[in-house]
């Protein structure tokens, strides 16, 4: 068994083991063990990847190719580069943190963890796939558990939110499907066989007309998951209703599939289409960046604030991807990672606050710094990371994006870039608004005695906080790792 397939096999084993487990105690132990193994594997993968990269010059390493459906030339083809390795590690960390945060999941614990790990399986599979079909399969596997996760364990108008989220995402994947089919059916443009293999398609010169037609489909299909304006409305409602760990996983990991897919499929395979359409999507994504930030300013529900903030931050990812250069792309991937950790941390904290105070309305909360100092301090740190404070991951990502975006000298790109950059001020406004209203201020009488933070919560928080800081303090290693992997892709675009 190759190391990559293990990322699918281990979760599946965990799921099977979970079916045997009884009650909360066993389920969470099993889930934790499974996720720990995943995390260990992720770290090992990083190590192995770096070692392999030193001697291997291919675009992807650890490749494995098993024919699945011969008639369609569908393969179970896997392989990773620096980007997928980084995102896999992100996933492993967030999943483990999610398990810890859900340590006290009383209602149907087994099912909860099963759904959570099904989701994780899909995400892992998506990141390791280099076959479009396999990728799409994993994509759907990752998306669909959200329905049950939000529906069963959510709060508020959960049924509606779950339905809306699922339908919008599946609607997007419908669009995506057409795009993928279009790519597939044009993959013989140079006379070769039809293929789903990304690396092989990248060698093919897909006719311009086809690129023009299928790029927007593929882009939108993926980008809806990345909360592209104006298709982002599932995200606030969905996140507001979702249970903590689900919000974490969804915003932290699942939404990354969007950017990753755009990068790996839409941009890589349809570079001419990307260039042809980039102006349009730049408008959308730049709007999303500033719109999400401004939208967050007037929200009162913590989760809504964070959801709109995600719209803004992920808009930045798409924006960066559309800049079609190495620096911006590195920034996009870094932003994906950074946002993944950050927003997961946010949702974890929001979950803890909500669990203690039973409200997420920032006007009802106040003075939490005094009562639950640990959570509040981490919230401040997360907030600072979110507004791009140096020393945290957000900064390195955003700087790459801005510097990259600035490489375009024409007026249109300049304006879009400056609009996006200006979001960092708005971000500061809404982050500080939350901090000021919720954490600072006099302690409210109803929140005098809130339970202290527990060990599993601390573990979950630290799991997320450490990478945020590490990425922010010492970005060189990871950014070079990513940049190295981007090179073959950017060459495709330049050609």
């Amino acid at each position: 068994m190759d190391i990559l397939s293990l990322f699918v096999v281990v979760p599946v084993i965990t799921i099977l083991a979970l079916f045997l487990a009884k009650g909360l105690k066993q389920s969470r132990i099993v889930a934790m063990a499974g996720s720990l193994v995943q995390l260990a594997m992720a770290f090992h993968l990083v190590y192995a990847y770096v070692k392999e990269r030193a001697i291997n010059d291919d675009i992807m390493v650890f490749m494995r190719d098993v024919v699945w459906y011969e008639d369609f030339n569908i393969h179970y083809a896997i392989g990773v580069d620096g980007i997928s390795v980084a995102l896999i590690t992100l996933t492993a960390i967030v999943v483990l943190a999610g398990v810890f945060i859900s340590w006290m999941m009383e209602d149907l614990p087994k099912e909860f963890f099963v759904s959570l790990i099904v989701l994780a399986t899909g995400v892992y599979g998506f990141f390791i796939s280099i076959d479009l079909f396999t990728m799409f399969v994993f994509y759907e596997i990752a998306v669909i558990p959200m329905y049950l996760l939000i529906g069963i364990w959510g709060t508020g108008p959960k049924e509606h939110a779950a339905m809306k989220l699922t339908l919008m995402l599946m609607g997007a994947s419908a669009v995506l499907l057409v795009g993928i089919l279009g790519i597939y059916l044009n993959s013989n443009a140079d006379g070769g066989p039809l293929t789903f293999n990304i690396l092989e398609i990248a060698q093919v010169n897909i006719p311009f007309a086809a690129q023009q037609l299928f790029f927007p489909l593929t882009f939108i299909g993926f980008a809806v998951l990345g909360a592209l304006f104006p298709f982002h409305t599932w995200s606030p409602d969905g996140h507001a209703s979702a249970p903590t760990a689900v919000s974490m996983l969804h915003a932290g990991v699942l939404m990354k599939l969007g950017g990753y897919g755009v990068f790996r499929v839409a941009m890589f395979l349809l570079p001419e289409g990307a260039m042809d359409w980039s102006w349009f999507f730049i408008i959308l994504s730049a709007t999303g960046v500033i719109y999400g930030a401004l939208g967050a300013v007037r929200q009162t529900d913590l989760k809504y604030i964070n959801a709109y903030s995600s719209v803004s931050h992920l808009g930045m990812v798409l924006f960066a991807l559309l800049m079609l250069n190495k620096t911006a792309w590195t920034g996009a991937i870094l932003q994906s990672l950074s946002h993944g950790f950050m927003t997961a941390l946010f949702f974890a904290l929001i979950g803890m606050i909500y669990g203690r105070t039973k409200t997420r309305d920032i006007y009802k909360l106040g003075g939490l710094l005094k009562v639950i100092p640990f959570i509040s301090v981490v919230y401040v740190i997360a907030g600072m990371a979110s507004l791009g404070l140096p020393g945290f991951s957000g900064f390195t990502a955003e700087m790459n994006i801005f510097v990259g975006a600035f490489q375009h000298t024409d007026m249109f790109h300049r304006v879009a870039t400056i609009v996006s950059i200006s979001a960092i001020v708005v971000t500061a406004v809404y982050i500080l608004r939350v901090i000021g209203l919720m954490l600072m201020g006099p302690v409210k009488s109803e929140f005098k005695d809130l339970p202290k933070v527990r060990w599993y919560e601390v573990t979950g928080i630290l799991l997320l906080l450490i990478p945020i800081t590490a990425l922010g303090v010492a970005p060189l290693w990871i950014s070079d790792l990513i940049m190295e992997s981007i090179k073959p892709f950017i060459q495709g675009v330049i050609q």
Binding site: W68, D71, F133, F138, E159, L167, A174, L177, Y184, L185
Partner: protein
């Protein structure tokens, strides 16, 4: 007629023997032991199914009226497996409801006769055989629909079914007569050669197609479906939606790809419209259904629309993906019908709201339902995803991107109502949920087979590859 020609008609002969044995059983088995008849029937049919998988030759009989090859053989096997699962799932219902009313054997005989009709229909080499097979497959089902003799709904459904079916077959026959006029023959082989794209043959074709469209329940020939499903006993509705529809799709596939091939320009345009109409109407109507049977009726209408995607392509890829899809559809739909039936048998409840909180009392059944619905909705890793994907590929490879797009939009709509069922089972809670119940061995076996089918058909690619290789026999 030599012995070897009997072997060629192996399926038909065995099934006939089976029917006769059951008649004998009806006569000789004493009244208080009649329930053993169920075991006997299922056992015998199991053997029949197993024997069906033995390899067969490519032959024709009766001067070309009857023909068989590996593909037709496969069709029959697929139908057999479906019927077997259906029988396993309905065993309880038959034992409880029918044996007591001394109607058990009749049920089997009617069911098997209908299946026999389908065999002939699929194997038909001319329109006469086709027509006889069609009628033989339809009429017993009409009787079965009205089988709940004490229930008004059942009788009403029966009336609607038989009258609509009669009209459909009448129109279809009129069409066949026109085709006969246009080509001078009723033999498929001859017609395929002499068929031209004249107005007469197009008119004949459309009239004829309506008859099969009725069986597959394509819009606008679908209206009977929901009423009949609702009124019919669940096993019969299940049979209608799965086996009957499957058989009709198979023969339609054969006819379209061989006899009607010269009219391809005409029917591609027609199917384009019908596919969209069928999917959309099925979905739109399904959205508001609360009765499970009625809900599944519309769902099955929508599913039929997808089948047309492969048909439109008109390629081998299209053919193989249709066969594959029907196979998956049979398993998926049987899984869903099986659960509905299990619940209905124990509690008599068929309303969606009664399912609220079902997961918390009966997790296994709910999970099977989930799997079945996901397969119908086309969510991986359930097989339905693969079936649909290949259909899309088939259509898209002929350039029907817009159609594929509309189809996937429809899938999203369909996902909504499938999720509604899951919402009831998993998300909603109920003060008085359906209590936990244990299913009989037959039921469990029937459901287990569907689960295995749903999971294996998609993930295990040799099944598709076999179908693909065999579908070349069409041309």
């Amino acid at each position: 007629m030599s012995f070897s020609s009997l072997l060629i008609m192996r399926h038909e002969m065995l099934l006939l023997v089976l029917i006769l044995l059951l008649i004998a059983g009806e006569i000789f088995i004493p009244k208080h032991k009649k329930s053993s008849l169920v075991h006997l029937a299922i056992f015998l049919f199991g053997i029949h199914t197993a024997v069906g998988f033995l390899p067969a030759d490519t032959e024709t009989l009766f001067g070309g009226s009857f023909r068989t090859n590996d593909m037709i053989h496969l069709f029959k096997n697929i139908l057999n497996v479906g019927v077997l699962i259906l029988l396993l799932q309905s065993a309880d219902w038959i034992t409880d409801k029918l044996i007591g009313a001394e109607k058990g054997t009749e049920f089997f005989i009617l069911l098997f006769s209908s299946l026999l009709g389908m065999y002939f229909m699929i194997s038909a080499g001319d329109f006469l055989m086709f027509y006889i097979g069609l009628e033989l497959s339809t009429l017993p089902v009409a009787a079965l629909v009205a089988f709940d003799a004490g229930k008004r709904k059942s009788s009403e459904a029966g009336v609607k079914m038989i009258l609509s079916a009669a009209l459909a077959s009448g129109i279809s026959l009129f069409g066949i007569s026109l085709l006969y006029a246009a080509t001078g023959s009723i033999y498929f082989d001859v017609m395929a050669i002499s068929m031209t794209s004249s107005s007469l043959s197009i008119l004949g074709f459309v009239l004829f197609f309506a008859g099969l469209g009725f069986k597959i329940s394509l819009a606008p020939f679908h209206f009977w479906t929901a009423d009949v499903y609702e009124g019919a006993p669940i096993p019969v509705a299940s049979f209608l939606s799965v086996i009957s529809k499957g058989a009709a799709v198979f023969i339609l596939l054969i006819l379209m790809f061989t006899v009607m091939r010269p009219l391809i320009d005409a029917w591609q345009n027609m199917l384009y419209a019908i596919a969209i109409l069928t999917m959309t109407i099925g979905n739109i109507f399904a959205l508001r259904q609360k009765n499970m049977k009625r809900f599944l009726a519309y769902s099955s209408i929508a599913q039929a629309g997808f089948i047309l995607l492969g048909l439109i392509a008109g390629t081998q890829l299209g053919a193989s993906s249709i066969i594959y899809f029907v196979l998956i559809y049979i398993f998926s739909n049987l899984a869903v019908f099986g659960v509905v039936q299990a619940i209905s048998n124990k509690t008599g409840l068929e309303h969606m709201d009664d399912y609220n909180g079902f997961y918390r009392t009966n997790p296994m059944l709910s999970l099977i339902m989930l799997l079945g619905l996901f397969s119908l909705a086309g969510i991986p890793p359930a097989a339905g995803f693969f079936g649909k994907f290949f259909l899309y590929t088939a259509a898209a490879s002929e350039g029907y991107y817009l159609l594929v797009f509309l189809a996937v939009v429809n899938v999203t709509i369909s996902l909504y109502y499938y999720l509604i069922v899951l919402r009831a089972m998993f998300i909603r809670t109920n003060d008085h949920p359906i209590p936990y119940f244990k299913n009989s061995l037959y039921m469990r076996l029937g459901l287990a087979l569907t689960v295995i089918g749903i999971l294996a058909i998609g993930m295990y690619s040799p099944i598709y590859e076999y179908i693909h290789s065999i579908s070349s026999l069409l041309n």
